[in-house]
């Protein structure tokens, strides 16, 4: 088949800015992507993926080497518009690529630029909107759409140019799971029905499972390339590259390491179910076996600690909390309905729920940013409705989504002490706190005198969190602290938070869409839906209610889902298992207790 994208020894070097060494973002890449292929490019933040995408689209011209798009050289200025018409680019931030004040005008933007006659533009706009399932939103202003809807509009805007290929540059990284699924479904459809070549750049492994081919990028180079199955076999290489594998793959890999006989590695849930069935059957455990293992070895030790904490005192008590936005107007919206919730001192509480379910509204009550319309909230004995919020804000630190966007000072140090300055501490105490915080967050002291705007994305986020941590809050609330971070960066943040909780006893509340992270790091989970608190219980109790969670548009950790599926098939399954480690422990002890040990 014809080659859609061909690169020959492509290098790209960013110009030397402010004394930095010229950085080779892309360093000698030669790839061929065939017409109609669905290719996923995986790589950490800063591995050069976005630069590569821009090279495909002639937004960047290679420093060395050649990029051919459908046979056309991006260096040739005369064909640049043909290249961009044939290869559309969807960007990461859904907000910053929509141009017009209504959806249909935005979709029309591309064909308008190409000088397509109005009648045909109309036709293309209607068809494109239908392809992405947004035909009922033609007259909407973009700012009223969800992230997933915005990205679908961006895709429609490219479809209207009748491209042969769509490249998505981390276009799903700022979306919630629902939005991500919407976009993935649209892409699969375009690829299958219209034969459009899709290049999806991402760090979400689950998006790579269905691809025809996966490329792994590291330091500007392609280090692995092949079918998803073949790629995921290299568990260790992937982890080294700061990436992840699907949880079922990791579970099978760990079991293999323990000596169990597993043929090949599964990449999907279905595959893992059949592999596990085979394993259990061959170990003499069948549908009638009794469960004979201790739940204590299942959950990791951290999770078990929670049981000892259950009788701890309450730090935040919320009673009959209601919050209404824009009360008594036509836009009135009940964001919180009769919330009753207590948060224990020293626990890590996860809050999950679909976008718009009231999670952020809820946590903004904890430090008085929002005031209850009715009901009460008490933090460590202080009422959050008080006028003077200084004391309250000292007790509760709130880290907003994408906190790096709040940095503003000339130096990192000044930014970190922004809040501290108002407390009237001595200089020594201020310094002590800053160094304590950066030590905990792994920020190098060399960075303190740098401008925060010079740092990388991950470093900026840590600095922003440090600015809250120096206040030494008793409760630290984080609204999606890992949004946009790659698996390694995300893991690091969670490990820091765990450490903070363990060593300093800080109570932590985390809003997240990543159920695997919630399962691995939280003691309890609160589930929100349409402004109501649906349940709040320990991690294992919440995630075993898979069918309810799914009906509310939420995911379950993949391991929990696996256990549920096995139980449905009649096998005695440890429901408490939520993480890969849990799964290994549980299956190991289950198989051993079943009488047959290692192979």
């Amino acid at each position: 088949m014809k080659e859609m994208i061909k690169t020959i020894d492509v290098c790209y070097e960013y110009k030397n800015i402010s004394g930095h060494n010229p950085a080779r973002a892309v360093n000698g890449i030669s790839i061929d992507i065939k017409q109609g292929e669905f290719v996923v490019v995986l790589g950490r933040n800063g591995s050069g993926k976005s630069t590569l995408a821009r090279l495909f689209n002639a937004l960047l011209i290679p420093t060395e080497g050649t990029v051919l798009i459908d046979g056309l050289d991006t260096k040739n200025g005369e064909v640049i518009w043909d290249i961009r018409k044939n290869l559309g680019l969807v960007f990461q931030n859904p907000d910053n690529q929509l141009v017009s004040t209504t959806v249909e005008e935005d979709v029309a933007f591309g064909p308008e630029n190409l000088g397509v006659p109005p009648k045909e533009i109309r036709q293309r706009v209607d068809e494109s909107l239908k392809m992405v399932g947004m035909e009922n939103y033609a007259q909407f202003p973009p700012h009223l759409l969800s992230g997933g809807q915005k990205q679908r509009i961006a895709i429609a805007g490219i479809l209207a140019m009748e491209p042969k290929c769509i490249v998505l540059d981390e276009a799903t990284s700022m979306l919630d799971p629902k939005g991500r699924k919407e976009v993935m479904d649209v892409l699969a459809k375009l690829n299958k029905e219209k034969g459009i070549t899709v290049v999806l750049i991402t760090h979400h492994m689950n998006e790579a499972v269905e691809a025809d081919r996966v490329l792994v990028m590291e330091n500007g180079q392609i280090t692995l390339s092949g079918k998803p199955r073949a790629i995921f076999e290299n568990v260790e290489a992937l982890v080294r590259a700061g990436l992840d594998v699907p949880k079922v793959t990791a579970l099978a890999y760990e079991l293999k390491k323990k000596g169990y006989r597993i043929n090949g590695l599964p990449v999907t849930l279905d595959e893992m179910v059949s592999i596990l069935k085979e394993l259990l059957n061959s170990s003499g455990i069948d549908k009638n076996s009794k469960l004979n293992y201790s739940a204590n070895i299942v959950r990791n030790p951290d999770a078990n600690k929670l049981n000892n904490r259950a009788d701890n005192e309450d730090i935040i008590v919320i009673k009959d909390l209601n919050h209404v936005y824009m009360a008594e107007t036509t836009l009135e919206k009940k964001a919180l309905k009769n919330i009753n919730l207590t948060i224990k001192r020293g626990e890590i509480l996860g809050i999950i729920g679909h976008t718009g379910s009231g999670k952020s509204t809820l946590v903004q009550h904890f430090n008085g940013i929002l005031k209850p319309t009715s009901g009460s909230i008490t933090v460590d004995g202080l009422s959050a409705e008080k006028k003077d919020l200084k004391e309250l804000r000292k007790k509760v630190g709130l880290v907003f989504q994408y906190p790096e966007q709040q940095l503003f000072e000339e130096t990192v140090y000044k930014d970190i002490i922004f809040g501290l300055n108002k407390l009237g501490l001595t200089e020594e105490e201020t310094k002590r706190r800053v160094f304590h915080a950066i030590d905990l967050l792994g920020i190098s002291p060399d960075l303190l005198e740098k401008s925060p705007f010079e740092l990388s994305g991950g470093q900026k986020r840590r600095v922003a969190i440090a600015g809250v941590l120096v206040m030494e809050p008793k409760v630290l609330v984080l609204d999606e602290p890992t949004a946009g971070l790659d698996p390694k960066g995300s893991n690091e943040v969670f490990n820091i938070l765990s450490e903070l909780n363990r060593n300093e006893g800080t109570t932590i509340v985390i809003i997240s869409h990543n159920m695997d992270d919630i399962a691995a790091f939280c003691h309890r989970v609160a589930v929100m839906r349409d402004g109501e608190l649906m349940m709040c219980d320990t991690v294992d109790k919440v995630f075993t209610k898979a069918s309810e969670l799914k009906s509310w548009g939420l995911d379950v950790p993949q391991i929990a889902e696996l256990m549920g599926r096995m139980a449905q098939e009649g096998y005695p399954m440890p429901f408490e298992a939520m993480t890969v480690q849990d799964g290994v422990n549980a299956l190991d002890s289950l198989i051993k207790s079943g009488g047959i040990g290692h192979a």
């Binding site: 937004l59 141009v99 933007f109 503003f408």
Partner: protein, 268 residues
């Protein structure tokens, strides 16, 4: 706080006013505004008032909505009218201490008030019946002839439409940054004026940084969607003069002639 600002007051509808070409509306709004300032006799005022009222009625816009535009300006309107009462000399009706209320004062106050109300209503009639996109298209087309003397018509229109697109996004962002900074101990509500203005630095800096970043990304996105200025560009909805524009313009001319014609016929 910031949520209360609604932008682009366009009220969807299908009235004759909605269907007019935006250029017709922009030009005639201009003509009406000039005409309002030329009004002199009370007959002319009544004529003009009646005409604007008729426009209001055929516009399909709820009366409440069109009067909304007056509300924020009501204070200034009343103030200027009241000042007129006090400061225009003439036949006194009654006096309170040093203040003389004159017949002429009241008369001119009423006239001024009526003029300003008519101005506001005719301007808001235009924005209420025209989508922001049609408006920028109209401005672009109207400025087109001036391109030869260096007026960047297309660029002005594109800038206006991008501004309209991003104002809600930036407002949302400003609000989020304010919340985040107050969580870190920023205080926007107390202290002297100087310290309050200063307290906005932590909001403005990130807001500007992000606005520039957005601009950068938007430029990339536009370029990758083959944007290369106004040349050779077509439009999804190209605006076009229709019979409706012709007939309503004729009615407009007739009305203006009727209103001011009397003055010339009888006064000369």
């Amino acid at each position: 706080m910031l949520d209360n600002i609604t932008l682009g007051q366009y009220i969807p509808g299908n009235s004759a006013l909605h269907r007019l070409d935006p250029r017709t509306k922009i030009i005639w709004t201009g003509i009406l505004m000039v005409a309002v300032f030329l009004l002199e006799t009370w007959q002319e005022y009544v004529m003009m008032g009646a005409f604007i009222l008729i426009l209001l009625m055929i516009s399909d816009v709820p009366l409440k909505q069109s009067l909304k535009g007056i509300k924020p300006l009501l204070f200034i309107l009343v103030l200027t009218a009241v000042l007129n009462i006090f400061f225009i000399g003439g036949t006194p009706i009654f006096t309170i201490g040093p203040v003389k209320i004159t017949y002429e004062g009241i008369y001119s106050a009423i006239k001024l008030f009526a003029r300003l109300v008519m101005l506001i209503i005719s301007a808001s009639l235009m924005t209420l019946t025209t989508t922001p996109i049609a408006m920028t298209d109209g401005i672009e087309k109207l400025l087109k002839p001036f391109e030869r003397i260096g007026v960047p018509a297309h660029e002005i229109a594109m800038m206006m439409s991008i501004a309209l697109r991003f104002i809600p996004t930036l407002l949302e962002e400003a609000q989020r940054i304010m919340k985040a900074q107050s969580s870190r101990g920023a205080d926007f509500d107390t202290g002297s004026i100087v310290s309050r203005v200063k307290s906005f630095i932590p909001v403005l800096v990130p807001l500007f940084v992000s606005a520039f970043k957005r601009a950068d990304e938007l430029a990339d996105a536009m370029e990758s969607r083959c944007y290369r200025g106004g040349k050779g560009r077509t439009r999804l909805k190209s605006i076009r003069f229709t019979k409706l524009d012709l007939s309503s313009s004729l009615i407009g001319v007739a009305f203006i002639a009727l209103t001011f014609g009397a003055r010339f016929i009888f006064n000369i």
